[in-house]
């Protein structure tokens, strides 16, 4: 008896003629995540993808853990693939599902027959399998309304599949189907969550991190690597660009009013990020900003930073409370990394009293003291690529 994975697409079925493209992308993403465990064969029909292990001893538990993190999957099951023969189905159902059935009190059988050449109709399959299970497991009773366990029998092209207990998938859209966007990542709690949320909507992530040696340490950059490795379990491979930002920060400190330091710095980050994003084929920026969280994220400040980007800026956390963000960061296991105590570039030159209601005009005027174009071009050009992938 062979065990396979039956994977149900999420919203994909809605996508009409594009469905094929979406499904291909999803298979590609699944392939990327599962390939480390061994060789697999993928087939798909009727909004179900079947992943069949080709090697012996593939760790199916680990495969399921990984699948839980692939966007675009609504649900999946581990299933036994058996010959399309009633006798085989009857003997395998009890054997394959023995542990679950032993633990359950009541059950029902559901059957789906997409191969209409199979001699029994669905209700007949249900009756036969139900009878057989009742004989084998004497403690079981049938409950069609509220069963502890639903035994599914699907008769498809190549095999009959027997399974129970669907596992919920990550939902969302396959990464890569919505285009590319560049995530500004600092090392705090918010940006990894923002990246995760946009990857869930099918965006492929590029990441941009601003480093300010010696004010920030090699460990702070390492921390960003670890955070993104965690996100990459969901989003797939991420190209990270580490931008040297010390000179820009020093120039701002020397030439601009102290209370505008942060806002001007963030504007220059947006500008630098826009250059890299465009060069890398990204159509938008993603930040972890949330209204009112800190001085640089008041509405007035956001107006100023927004004006610096020349592409849309996605801020998925904009209306979330810190607690809500933290609960996601715990779920995607970035929280414990985020709270490591290394300084990131945002905290180094922080003014004692930043302006919370900056006016764009005044900010632009203050910026005139800098050769912005030269500074951002130089920073973007000297950025260093690090390719981040899940283990």
């Amino acid at each position: 008896m062979k065990e396979i994975l039956l994977i149900k697409n999420g919203e994909l079925a809605l996508k009409g003629l594009n469905r094929r493209t979406f499904e291909d992308k999803l298979i590609k993403n699944i392939r990327h995540r599962l390939s480390g465990l061994g060789r697999w064969e993928y087939t798909s029909s009727q909004s179900t993808i079947m992943a069949e292990p080709l090697d012996d001893g593939i760790d199916m538990d680990e495969a399921c853990n990984r699948l839980k993190k692939v966007f675009g999957i609504a649900a999946f099951s581990r299933a036994a693939a058996v010959e399309k023969d009633l006798g085989t189905i009857l003997s395998c159902a009890g054997e394959y599902l023995a542990p679950q059935l032993a633990a359950a009190g009541s059950f029902k059988v559901e059957a789906k027959r997409s191969d209409k050449s199979f001699p029994l109709k669905s209700p007949e399959i249900c009756t036969s399998v139900g009878d057989k299970l009742l004989q084998t497991f004497e403690h079981l009773r049938v409950d069609v309304h509220n069963p502890d366990i639903i035994v599914m029998v699907e008769i498809r092209d190549r095999y009959a599949y027997i399974h129970a207990n669907q596992i919920k998938g990550a939902g969302g859209m396959p990464v890569g189907t919505a285009g590319d966007a560049a995530l500004l990542v600092s090392g705090g709690i918010d940006s990894p969550v923002a990246g995760w949320m946009m990857a869930k909507r099918g965006l492929k992530l590029t990441a941009i991190h601003f480093a300010s040696p010696p004010y920030t340490s090699a460990r702070a950059e390492q921390k960003v690597h670890s955070l993104l490795r965690q996100v990459a379990e969901y989003s797939g491979r991420i190209n990270l660009f580490v931008v040297p930002f010390t000179e820009i920060q020093e120039r701002i400190q020397e030439n601009c009013p102290e209370d505008l330091f942060t806002i001007i710095m963030r504007r220059l980050m947006m500008k630098t990020a826009s250059i890299i994003a465009k060069r890398e084929g990204c159509g938008a920026l993603i930040t972890g900003e949330s209204v009112g969280q800190v001085a640089s994220q008041t509405l007035y400040a956001l107006v100023c930073t927004d004006a610096a980007a020349d592409m849309p800026v996605f801020r998925p956390l904009i209306g979330m409370d810190k607690e809500e963000v933290i609960s996601i960061s715990r779920r995607i296991e970035t929280f414990d990394i985020s709270i490591l105590p290394f300084e990131d570039c945002c905290t180094v030159f922080t003014p004692k009293h930043p302006r919370t209601r900056p006016k764009l005009e005044a900010v632009l005027k203050a910026e005139d003291a800098l050769d912005v174009e030269a500074l951002i071009n130089k920073a973007a050009e000297s950025s260093k690529l690090v390719v981040i992938d899940s283990e």
Binding site: P214, Y215, T216, S217, Q253, E258, E343, F349, K352
Partner: protein
């Protein structure tokens, strides 16, 4: 050239330690508890190591227990004591500048209903004998004091503890965390008159993963770990023989305390003289502290950029205890230093392997650094 000035965090293993470890790993890899000859050969190494470390503490070898290091030794002493004295009282006296392995242990006990008194320190980082005398009461069960502070190097008047305990008529055991002092000054367990004392191997050019606890003969501690008969059941588990042999090798290689102090003292004096000449640097360690540890504040500049700047140049110092991983120093706070001075702190810690050349490289980089790093607002 790498300049390693973070010897209070850990030290480079010396040749004698490496050799002793290799020989145990290659040839003498038996289990000292085995009854056969290979076991007996291993046991001989174990007992020889015990004797070697015991000699360094001027105690008897049966008073010495091997552990996994300073932290475990401190934990066994603290919990072993309070659990042995359960019915005698629930008060602990310690200082406000202990290592995290003591502080976190007593903080846990505090949450379990113990009363913990943390003695304040003066601006030199030293607690006063008077405060200690007042703090110890008849229901005090543990007095835990460090011998040399790990961040500033200040000597503590640990020898005053016995009188405090006697005067109060207290049943307290006296524990001494001697991790930073061990191998650097002459320590005599009996004249210090403490009941338990922790030491560690990797601070004196031995391997990590091994330390020892001195327990005065006749004293009863309740174990924290249960298992076989090893270390007289106080610390069961098959002994990490390579590490223990390396520990003993490192102890054998120690110079006499006076010659070590003299050599490192000259390095310290030179370093401090040059830093004072440079200006903008405050030396936080008191002049009569252990010369191996020099704590400074560089005016206006944060510790982390300094560490990063120096690290880029392969010069390694720290901002405080490595066990605190960059958190603000509770020791400097207890000494009453301003927040600015605490944010600007660097700990330079020397060893007998440190050279004048290394000090010069460090000084040059320090001077350049002061001109290139932006001061904090």
């Amino acid at each position: 050239m790498e300049v390693y000035l973070d010897n209070s965090a850990t030290t480079a293993p010396c040749e004698q330690a490496i050799e002793a470890m290799n020989s145990v790993l290659r040839d003498n890899w038996g289990n000292p508890s085995s009854l056969h000859k290979r076991g007996m050969r291993a046991e001989a190494v174990l007992e020889d190591a015990r004797l070697t470390v015991a000699k360094e503490l001027s105690c008897r070898s049966e008073e010495l227990y091997f552990t996994s290091g300073g932290t475990e030794s401190n934990n066994i002493a603290v919990f072993g004591t309070v659990n042995a004295q359960k019915r005698r009282g629930k008060r602990i006296v310690t200082t406000s500048i202990e290592h995290s392995s003591i502080e976190e242990s007593v903080k846990f006990l505090e949450s379990q209903g113990y009363e913990v008194v943390r003695l304040p320190v003066d601006s030199s980082g030293r607690f006063s004998e008077k405060d200690l005398m007042r703090a110890v009461t008849p229901d005090t069960v543990l007095v835990s004091l460090m011998l040399v502070n790990n961040e500033v190097g200040t000597f503590q008047p640990v020898e005053a503890a016995r009188r405090a305990v006697n005067v109060a008529g207290s049943p307290a055991y006296i524990h001494c965390d001697a991790v930073q002092a061990f191998g650097k000054i002459k320590i005599k367990a009996s004249s210090l008159d403490v009941d338990t004392m922790s030491v560690s191997s990797h601070k004196i050019h031995g391997p990590k993963g091994v330390g020892a606890l001195y327990v005065k003969k006749g004293l009863l501690l309740v174990p924290r770990t249960y298992g076989g008969l090893q270390e007289k059941k106080l610390r069961p588990g098959t002994e990490p023989m390579p590490a223990i042999a390396g520990f003993a090798g490192a102890v054998k290689a120690l110079p006499s305390p006076s010659s070590g102090l003299d050599q490192v003292g000259r390095l310290r004096d030179y370093l401090c003289y040059e830093m004072e000449r440079m200006g903008g640097i405050i030396i936080n360690s008191p002049p009569n502290s252990l010369p191996y540890i020099i704590n400074i504040s560089v005016e206006g500049i944060n510790s982390e950029p300094m560490l990063n700047y120096l690290s880029e140049r392969e010069i390694y110092v720290s901002s405080g205890s490595a066990c605190a991983k960059g958190k603000k120093s509770h020791v400097l706070k207890a000494m009453g230093l301003s927040d600015d001075r605490i944010s600007s702190a660097l700990r330079i810690s020397l060893s007998r392997m440190t050279t004048f050349e290394e000090i010069d490289t460090f000084l040059t980089a320090l001077g350049e650094m002061k001109n290139s790093i932006k001061p904090r607002r």
